[in-house]
Symmetry: C2
Subunit: 395 residues, 2 copies
């Protein structure tokens, strides 16, 4: 069997096909896990070598303020991410992990309301729940973490809720929530929003400003391809800056770090949410990785993403008739991120077999087969080969 | 002028002279700022290339659990740091910044006491003060941050103090506090201790267990040479594990992260203080950098450090007669870290001139010339050349 002509035709007119060359990907893999760890942009290796040899190795401490200007590196990376998520550069801070940024955002949002209820998706990504639990413990249990199924969120936007904490795209099902509608509905009840964009940023155009989102957090190592454990980001809407305090107030978020004053004074804009010394090696990798997006129209990327996931769902459809395989991802485009997932009672075992064959997706408890599609480095032919391999393993 | 024979003789019998070759350092620099950013161990470049090409580039997501075993990387690095600071591996967590770890340690320590006073050195490193201020703001101002001069700390260990937050070696003067004595005096008053080892770890043998320290934090990018913004570490004494809660409770500190449970359950030991996804690139650099210490006897390193700083103080002594230059660092060995500092009214300008000549120390407000000595890559000849250069600039 070879790749069907209609898919080859789609690839032939793919406006993003030239991006594949910018990534280091083994030829013997179909890598469908960029939603867990994005592939490496080739330029990252060159950048890291320069950072090591020249910036650290030769310029040493002088790189903080010299040509390398490590001091402004978080801001430069923030500006690149801001473009992808529909924010102003001054609304984005880069650094720390998504978990730590969840803490920052949630603590700052809760400070802007007397209400003590945090409403969230019961199936939110665990670390978002854990960080909320930790914050609540620190505050002596004064919060209520109210967890409801994602399809009942809208019905639970009641006037006792202070903050709505949601991940836009569910990490297991790939179900995409209506950020614009839910944010508006939350605001109508005086509720502030914290959006986790872990599976959104870099996967499709996000419009934080357009949605009037209050706070958001996101991950650098999935669709942004920043490398394992890449620094994360935090978005705070400009209108929230004055009232949003900084509780993780470190010297790198100070208005003048090298004044070494004894009292904390926040830097302008979101920079105040940078805490400790930036992890320059990891941050430099993310900085270069983001350049892959410089010439990419995110609407074009979204169209290709939908074409890839549509194709995968179509090719997999016959298998759902023959096997105990159930589509977990919504078919409606507006409700889908850039991944497709299936339930299967033997999902863990099946995924291990797929990985052994070079088709790398991942398993998520309890029974999810998860396949991420990255328009920057996948072709429709890849989708076809993946579906073929899955058919063989299931058979 | 050439290097005096007595100094050449000291270098000739230096048991650590062979370590210099392990670092990438430009020949035209005398780099006396390893207390701000340690020099790069050459092996780091090779390690990073492997992490990029093989672990990330080729193995991709499989590196979390496969041969690279990124999941256990924080623990492996923790074990290497534990040896240098006199702790058990299970008492050290690696990740995040020193600032974030200060927050974790202080919040956990305060939870173990009903007292609300945090006693600290008024001249503590700013970010330690800022993080305490931020925690206090989050807790609604219920804490009192009591700041007293470092020579009055002992007199202020009163029964209303809950936590003593100190940096062992002052970042400006290089003055080393008596960790053992102050910890014992604090414990006698029912006070818990949080020691910041930013200028201690890797500079000399630290004995946290022997001092019965409760909590400690430290920096990966100074004397540990882990690279700019390297991950930091947190020490929590074993006896505090049961009672010390985790307020920054992220999925990587969970007992079983991939169970993806909805309730946080802490991992065993200090691993629970790992929060988000480890920054693998920066953490790998630190991991390899620590190998430089594998064959180093820390007592030998300390003896060389004192010999270097003694030599510098002796060579600089005539200059303090001719210029408005005053030694800021204690002459008693027990009170000295691995740096020597001087006050000079024109310190900033002088340091700029020194750096332009390739003698790289740093300036700290308001009037401090700071010179760090690193026994792993400095010779007594380097010390002499630095003092000669300083004499010329002062003249």
């Amino acid at each position: 069997m070879s790749v069907p002509a209609d898919l080859l035709a789609l690839d032939a007119r793919d406006p993003l096909s030239y991006k594949r060359e910018e990534f280091a990907l083994p030829d013997d893999l179909i890598y469908l896990d960029g939603n867990s760890l994005g592939a490496m942009p080739k330029a990252v290796a060159q950048r890291l070598q320069h950072v090591l040899d020249e910036e650290w190795g030769r310029q040493l401490i002088r790189s903080w303020t010299g040509e390398a200007d490590w001091m402004s590196l978080p801001d430069r990376v923030a500006a690149k991410i801001a473009r992808l998520v529909g924010a102003k550069p001054s609304e984005v801070a880069v650094g720390d992990s998504t978990s730590i940024n969840t803490f920052k955002a949630l603590a700052a949002a809760l400070h802007q309301t007397p209400r003590k209820v945090v409403l969230t998706d019961a199936d939110n990504f665990p670390t978002d729940l854990y960080m909320a639990q930790g914050l609540n413990a620190l505050l002596g249990g004064q919060l209520e973490l109210r967890r409801v199924p994602s399809d009942q969120i809208a019905a639970h936007l009641t006037p006792d809720v202070g903050v709505l904490l949601l991940t836009e795209v569910d990490y297991r099902t790939g179900r995409k929530l209506d950020m614009r509608g839910l944010t508006a509905a939350a605001h109508a009840q005086g509720i502030l929003t914290v959006w986790d964009l872990a599976h959104s940023a870099g996967a499709f155009a996000v419009d934080l400003n357009g949605c009037e989102a209050d706070f958001a957090i996101g991950c650098g190592y999935k669709y942004l391809n920043g490398g394992p454990g890449a620094p994360a980001f935090l978005y705070v809407a400009e209108r929230c800056h004055a009232a949003a305090p900084v509780f993780l107030s470190g010297w790198m978020g100070h208005a003048d770090p090298f004044e070494m004053g004894r009292e904390y004074a926040p830097a302008a804009g979101a920079r105040r949410y940078v805490v400790g010394t930036p992890t320059v090696l990891s941050l430099s990798a993310l900085d270069t990785a983001l350049d892959v997006f410089a010439d990419v129209d995110m609407e074009v990327l979204r169209q290709k993403s939908l074409s890839l996931t549509d194709t995968f769902i179509r090719l997999m459809q016959p298998l759902t008739q023959k096997h105990p395989l159930t589509l977990a991802t919504p078919e409606a485009h507006a409700e889908r991120g850039s991944q497709v997932s299936y339930h299967h009672p033997d999902a863990k075992n099946i995924m291990n077999k797929l990985i052994a064959r070079g088709i790398v997706g991942d398993f998520r408890t309890p029974d999810i087969l998860r396949f991420g599609f990255t328009p920057l480095y996948h072709s429709h032919a890849d989708v076809w080969r993946a579906a073929e391999g899955i058919a063989e393993v299931l058979a």
